[in-house]
């Protein structure tokens, strides 16, 4: 073992979680066989992993013309990872001491560093100086960790230069630091990253990409807008003594001065109000809070508040803009006063204040710059697209270039002396209002992976032409003789389910659901599987689909197209004529779909009595059974809730929406849905029986009864009694809740009910008690997703479980690992949620594009009455809008009075209550370039000084409004 020294003992002292002091002894083996990874080296044994160039960064930097590698310290990696990721920054030398320090300082930065190092095209190399005989530095007694790390950085860089001194030309190593305070301690070539980047000859100025060093706060001279955060040690002690609580910070979408913190172990989330209490927490941060005594408890203010654009806090200098600051502070105080209110005792919710930040969860944010106020300043205010994120102060040299562009910004810090967080510009996406740029924004904002599939992924695809071999057929059940057909929306290319129906000789009925056998092509652990697992789901935008699997699979080999032989996973039931299930068998099969129908075509076949072919007869039979199944489900208390779904007719040339219509549903939609539910439930039972510890299932927890209160209250105002004791009574009473002459009342009630419910989630069966498996919305004790493996990764996993359960495939280690399954579930839950949000955002983006240059009057209904606004639903477009009742300047305020008990707004003779009908005018406010937004104004009833005159434009043609009734989870 010549390549390593005898072990050294490293002794460290640490404090355990319960406060004990522990001595930890670890061995450390120092080696001499660690390759330096430089192409200039002639000493190290040749290795495949040589990533640094022989003539690095020649003449790149004005201040350091010699050839050099750059060795950033940990602070630089943590703060300036975006710089290191920049393609023009090359030949980066990461020492392992630096990497370890980064891991301790910031996990997100470490993850990005890992990804960067994994990218073989980047000139970056990690040198394990911590384990090298000549570069290992032992911590001296009483030496701080930081200064030891700094020392080892210097030792390593010197060793590196020495190691390469025989190379022609021999390169230098330049240490980069984030601040100049360390420079004096380094007796090797070193520079601050700002000096270095400033002198770089790159194609675009990279200085903007850098995060600014944190401002030093002078306790005497700066004015503070926020109380200080507590030290971590104080927070930890406070958490232990239950003085403080830890939780995730959720900023309110509607009111920037309000947020909630969900604390584990508390029933109600804690309300945080006012900028002092919010104390610089940003959405998704993990914060420590202090809960106020009960007499200070309150309820959400019901106000809709947007961060005031005129409060220009772009400049931090207190002196010159003191006056303005004063004004804006008053304004803020006014708003906070407005938020104070008398609250009925039962509505009260715990309130509290943020005392410290445990973990920042800042990411990069998309948005626009607001035009600056003074000509000379380089400071701008950045308006994030996400309303939950505060405005950000940004300093940039390219301000003029970036006006009216969608840009990405990262937050660096939020000192006490600054009203707004301070950030820096990262990159540019495109023009505001340009559809591609806006699409890019919503994909980035929702963390949707949308790059092309990599070569490694594409290499996993089967070679074309793909032929069904006899060998494969032999392993499977042959269903090619059956009259199988698929029913999907028009234009669907990823057909993942097909059905068949036939009467058996004994008079019973055989029904089959055939799902594309995706797992035949996507083998566990390969690049394609990993990519699909990380994407989690296909994302549907209005004009775009971001596939989970490459097109060859999703649109061809796994798509059960009409007339083509395809591989499938089949679930076949034997039923009586009254849809009682006698037995179910699962198999891997080969099918040939007779016809790929649309919902409309299928409906026409069913209705056309002259057709008597096998497929049509089957469809009629299925339709009859589906009705029985559906009625039975209703009896069990399944909920049928409504949510408006919108589709756009898109111009084929410009891809701009030209017309909008809500999706229309036919009987056949329900037919397919019913059998998909049946298949999902049967499969869930099967895989849970075989894999009680690991099966991937889906559950929908019942909401606490109190969450229905707003709906019940609203219904009561219309003299209707709803009961929400359990799913059944709720669905029964919803069924009866009709008001003559108000066709949308019931639908709106259902929409409101949906809002009260919890999200359905995927979970690993071993992690949850059996009685918690239930799916509340579908009223079934167990459920999973099996029917759409082309577009959902959950279904892929379920297919694997099912295949293993019927001994048609083998299990593999990760499948039977609860930890891994739990991770998979968390990821797909997250991706699923994000995909939904992205879809909605896409709809609202297109709605906005659609109403650009239009003014349309439409019928609308009040959904919620807020303290200063009305939220209305416009059924025709499935659109929700907010009508502000009191504008920010007092001129237009015509004095709406809000009645908390009655949930109504009154002005003169007009009163608005939930469910009231009104006519509204929809238009797009384009007055400010950056902030196009949909504006809804009241046309009718007429309120002098508030309502607007009717538009003369005729409404664009659209299909009659229809609500989609969904079970929520097919």
């Amino acid at each position: 073992m010549a390549c390593r020294d005898p072990a050294r003992q490293l002794i460290s002292i640490r404090r355990t979680n319960d406060g004990n002091v522990q001595r930890v002894v670890r061995e450390r083996y120092l080696r001499n066989d660690i390759a330096c990874g430089s192409a200039a080296c002639r000493v190290c044994p040749p290795s495949a992993n040589v990533r640094l160039q022989a003539k690095p960064n020649e003449g790149l930097c004005g201040k350091f013309p010699a050839n050099h590698y750059i060795a950033p310290n940990a602070e630089v990696v943590v703060n300036q990872i975006a710089l290191l990721e920049h393609p023009e920054i090359k030949n980066i030398l990461i020492f392992s001491t630096v990497a370890d320090e980064v891991e301790q300082l910031s996990l997100p930065a470490f993850e990005r560093l890992k990804t960067l190092c994994a990218n073989t095209t980047k000139n970056i190399s990690c040198f394990a100086n911590e384990f090298h005989r000549d570069t290992f530095v032992e911590r001296n007694p009483k030496e701080s960790k930081e200064s030891r790390n700094l020392r080892s950085l210097v030792v390593a860089s010197k060793w590196y230069v020495e190691h390469l001194k025989h190379a022609q030309p021999s390169p230098a190593v330049l240490i980069l630091t984030n601040t100049d305070k360390d420079l004096a301690l380094i007796d090797a070539p070193a520079m601050t990253v700002f000096d270095y980047v400033g002198a770089l000859k790159t194609s675009e100025p990279l200085l903007d990409v850098l995060a600014k060093p944190s401002t030093l706060e002078d306790l005497k001279t700066s004015t503070f807008h926020y109380p200080p955060h507590l030290k971590p040690s104080v927070i930890q002690a406070g958490l232990k003594s239950a003085k403080y609580f830890q939780g995730k910070f959720h900023a309110s979408r509607e009111n920037y001065l309000e947020a909630t913190v969900s604390v584990e172990g508390l029933d109600k989330s804690v309300l945080i109000q006012g900028h002092v209490s919010l104390n610089r927490a940003v959405n998704e941060d993990i914060v420590a809070i202090e809960i106020f005594p009960e007499d200070k408890w309150s309820a959400p203010s019901n106000l809709v508040l947007e961060e005031e654009p005129d409060v220009d806090a772009a400049s931090g200098e207190a002196s010159e803009e003191n006056e303005e600051n004063e004004k804006s502070r008053q304004l803020k105080d006014d708003m906070e006063k407005k938020m104070q209110q008398k609250v009925a005792k039962k509505d009260k919710q715990p309130t509290g204040k943020v005392v410290g930040i445990i973990k920042r969860n800042w990411r990069t944010y998309c948005g626009v710059l607001r035009p600056k106020t003074s000509k000379t300043s380089t400071r701008y205010v950045f308006v994030p697209a996400d309303r939950k994120i505060p405005l950000v102060r940004v300093e940039t040299q390219q301000g003029d270039l970036l006006q009216g562009k969608r840009i990405v910004v990262a937050i660096d810090e939020w000192p006490r002396s600054s009203k707004l967080p301070i950030g820096h510009y990262v990159k540019r996406l495109g023009e505001v209002g340009d559809k591609n740029a806006e699409n890019e924004v919503l994909l980035l904002e929702h963390d949707v992976q949308h790059d092309k599939f990599s070569d490694a992924v594409l290499a996993c695809l089967p070679t074309m032409p793909w032929i069904l071999t006899d060998e494969e057929v032999k392993k499977r059940t042959d269903f090619r003789h059956l009259a199988i057909c698929s029913v999907d929306p028009p234009g669907c290319t990823d057909i993942d389910d097909a059905l068949h129906y036939r009467v058996l000789p004994n008079g019973n009925i055989e029904v089959g659901v055939h799902i594309a056998d995706v797992t035949h092509f996507v083998r566990p652990g390969n690049a394609m599987d990993q990519e699909a697992a990380s994407r989690g789901t296909t994302v549907y935008l209005v004009d775009q689909r971001i596939d989970m699997l490459p097109g060859l699979l999703s649109g061809n080999l796994c798509s059960l197209r009409g007339g083509e032989e395809r591989l499938a996973m089949s679930s076949v039931w034997e039923m009586t004529q009254t849809a009682e299930i006698l037995n179910v068998t699962f198999s891997k099969s080969v099918i040939r779909s007779r016809a790929a129908l649309t919902y409309g075509e299928a409906q026409m076949r069913i209705d056309d009595a002259s057709l008597t072919d096998e497929v049509t007869v089957g469809l009629r039979g299925l339709n009859r059974l589906a009705k029985i199944l559906r009625a039975r489900r209703k009896l069990n208390g399944a909920l049928f809730l409504a949510s408006p779904e919108v589709r756009f007719n898109i111009d084929s040339e410009t891809h701009d929406p030209i017309d909008v219509q809500t999706k229309e549903l036919k009987e056949t939609n329900f037919m397919v849905e019913e059998f998909m539910l049946l298949a999902n439930i049967s499969v869930a039972e099967k895989i849970h029986k075989e894999f009680p510890e690991y099966a991937l299932l889906r559950r929908h927890p019942a909401p606490p009864l109190s969450s229905y209160d707003p709906v019940l209250k609203a219904a009561q105002s219309k003299h209707l009694d709803l009961t929400a004791k359990d799913g059944k009574s709720l669905s029964d009473s919803l069924e009866k809740a009709y008001i003559p002459g108000q066709p949308y009342f019931n639908t709106m009630l259902r929409i409101l009910t949906t809002r009260c419910m919890m999200q359905a989630v995927y979970f690993c069966s071993g992690t949850v008690e059996y009685h918690d498996y239930q799916h509340y919305g579908l009223a079934t004790p167990i459920y999973t997703h099996f029917t759409s493996p082309i577009r959902r990764y959950a279904d892929v996993m379920v297919h694997r479980f099912l295949a293993a359960a019927i001994s048609k495939d083998v299990t593999y280690p990760e499948l039977l690992d609860r930890k891994v399954m739990d991770k998979v579930c968390q990821n797909i839950n997250y991706r699923h949620r994000m995909a939904q949000y992205a879809g909605r955002a896409s709809v609202s983006l297109h709605t906005q594009l659609f109403f650009r240059n239009r003014k349309v009057d439409e019928e609308a209904y009040v959904l919620f009455v807020r303290k200063n606004a009305l939220q209305v639903l416009i059924p025709k477009y499935g659109l929700e809008g907010t009508i502000m009742l009191s504008a920010k300047n007092d001129k237009t305020d015509i004095g709406f009075k809000f009645d908390q008990e009655d949930q109504s707004q009154t002005a003169g003779s007009v009163t608005f209550r939930t469910f009231d009908r009104l006519v509204v005018q929809i238009s797009v406010d384009q007055s400010s370039l950056q902030h196009h937004r949909l504006v809804v104004n009241v046309v009718e009833p007429i309120i002098p000084g508030f309502s607007v005159t009717p538009s003369t434009e005729t409404a664009p043609v659209g299909a009659p409004p229809k609500m989609r009734k969904i079970a929520g989870d097919a």
Partner: protein, 248 residues
């Protein structure tokens, strides 16, 4: 903290995946015993002592205990984890719950390499006391016990060595330290006759998928081979020192 650094590919103590820790050995440390050895495998330190062969004596308790008859090798093994061996001093609870099981394993191993007919009516007692615990206890105890037997001059056919292996992300780590034992990863300990690759005992910890067994076993055997090489050299050296005229 990951067990294998994603950036450098080294384990946390600087070893590569397939490397074992340093092995050190002092013979004859307990003068009262017939054979003893202080065996160090990294920071796992084991005092192995052998008493015997000694007279098994009359089976004077007349409870019909036929243990000795059933067990002609007359081998008694004991595995002990000292209270002070780990970071949190173990008190109260007594022995490692698995100590009995481990003692059994030791017995099974040594029985295979000893010559039972040579030790008729006698008993050999092997005790492995873990003085400092830093992972792979059973494996180290199996190796240490063999060395103590050699020191006691008891004839054995071949050396038994032990090796504990785990697997993470498809990479097998041999001779794991306590730090690497912490996560509940699949763990396999084998006691083998390394020359022939014959597995005498195999102990598995934490539930894992059968597909992982083959790679773990292969790595374990490879690791045992490395341990055997070192131990064999140590034994030869020891024999050379203590009996200079005895040539092998």
């Amino acid at each position: 903290m990951e067990l294998i650094s994603p950036l450098t590919g080294l384990r946390r103590d600087g070893r590569r995946e397939d490397e074992i820790r340093d092995i050190k050995c002092h013979f004859g440390v307990a003068k009262d015993a017939d054979g003893s050895v202080l065996f160090e495998q990294g920071n796992t330190k084991i005092l192995a002592t052998v008493f015997g062969p000694s007279d098994a004596g009359e089976n004077d308790d007349d409870d019909g205990d036929l243990d000795l008859l059933e067990d002609p090798s007359g081998l008694e093994c004991e595995f002990k984890l000292s209270a002070f061996s780990q970071q949190d001093r173990r008190t109260g609870q007594g022995d490692d719950p698995r100590a009995d099981e481990y003692s059994e394993y030791m017995e099974m191993c040594y029985k295979v390499v000893m010559f039972p007919h040579k030790n008729e009516n006698s008993v050999v007692k092997v005790t492995c006391q873990v003085l400092q615990a830093d992972g792979s206890h059973l494996a180290a105890a199996l190796t240490a016990g063999t060395l103590a037997l050699i020191d006691a001059g008891i004839q054995i056919k071949d050396l038994i060595v032990g090796c504990t292996t785990t697997i993470i992300d498809g990479k097998a780590l041999v001779d794991i330290s306590s730090h690497e034992e912490l996560q509940r990863l699949p763990q396999v300990t084998v006691g083998v006759i390394a020359r022939s690759g014959e597995i005498i005992v195999m102990d598995m910890k934490n539930r894992f998928h059968k597909d992982l067994l083959n790679p773990i076993l292969a790595a374990s055997l490879a690791g045992s081979g490395k341990i055997f090489e070192e131990v064999e050299a140590i034994v030869r050296e020891h024999v050379k020192n203590s009996a200079p005229n005895f040539t092998t």
